[in-house]
Symmetry: D3
Subunit: 79 residues, 6 copies
């Protein structure tokens, strides 16, 4: 009777992908701990980009920053 909560950013996850997450998480608990799938609950929380922070920034800004840093590093490496 486990409970699994998966939190991700909301960005067009399809029903099939959700089905795969639910099946995969349930199988994991069955395989590793021999849990009963009938009482294994999985919930997926899709969180708006502006409500998800990492590196002290909203997710979208963080991704843009990382991308810019990579581009700058590659430019510097090329010299």
């Amino acid at each position: 009777m486990p409970y699994v909560n998966i939190r991700i950013t909301r960005e067009g996850v399809t029903e099939d992908q959700k089905r795969a997450l639910i099946k995969g998480a349930t199988d994991l608990l069955v395989d590793v701990l021999n849990k009963n799938p009938a009482t294994t609950i999985v919930t997926i929380d899709e969180v708006e980009f502006e409500n998800w922070g990492i590196g002290g920034l909203p997710a979208e800004e963080y991704r843009a920053k990382i991308k810019a840093e990579k581009a700058a590093a590659e430019a510097a490496a090329k010299g």
Copy 2:
């Protein structure tokens, strides 16, 4: 000062039902543990059907499967 989080599938829960859940959960903490209602927080998370899994399936498919199994069992019993 307890915190109670109730997670359910989103399926037309009315404001009155939510009021009943909030009152019921708060009363429970007051009755059983003598908690102060003024600092008891209750939140209700309504989760989309496709984001709720049980038995390794999205909730709606799981319910359909259980219903089909029951129907088959009843048909077999009638024989």
Copy 3:
């Protein structure tokens, strides 16, 4: 198939009280939303006092502060 999480301070809650919380929360979901108890999960998290904050203070300090304020107010009222 709801999931209820009850978070309280750890302060000697007995097994009977936990049983009452589990039963009460499950009954609430059955009564208000007609949920199936067999797939209703309730978890109780007991949180150490020093890990629980309210009013910007650890719980114990907050309680002491409120108690002191009350005593002062009563003393003032008596004049």
Copy 4:
């Protein structure tokens, strides 16, 4: 690599305020515990008013009740 979840009522929180919450929570973990911001996740859950309870009532009713009590107390004091 901490995880911080901030749950508030949904009432027009702006993107700038969310950015401030994300930055503030991340800085807090960096300042107090020397955590790495690059693996510090902050999520903000905005909960509908009718899904948030305090004092045994939905948030809006609770606020109205507190306001009414204050007004009555002030009227009595002026009395």
Copy 5:
């Protein structure tokens, strides 16, 4: 940068099983949603038996009840 929380009853889960849960949940997010494992956090909460309820009962009592019902059904079937 997903966050996965796995809640199970505390009953002797080994370090290797925990490692398998962490790896499995992370791989799932990578495989299904192409997430970056470096910012995927997985936490495992082990909940005491008496703090976990299902079917309106603490987990251990529930299991005993289900087992007794099964035994009774089998005895009846043997007739």
Copy 6:
């Protein structure tokens, strides 16, 4: 009346640090959103190292791996 949950690895966080986290998180909600501290709850969950995963590994192994990679990179750079 916000609720803030801070999840960190259990590694000797002191009472003073917890007090600072509680105060800091509460102040943040007061400063950014003008919330009432008296009904702002902050909980701190300390999670065992072996129950915290990142990069698909338990936290301690992940840290060791990152450290080894850094050392190797530095050795190569000096090389």
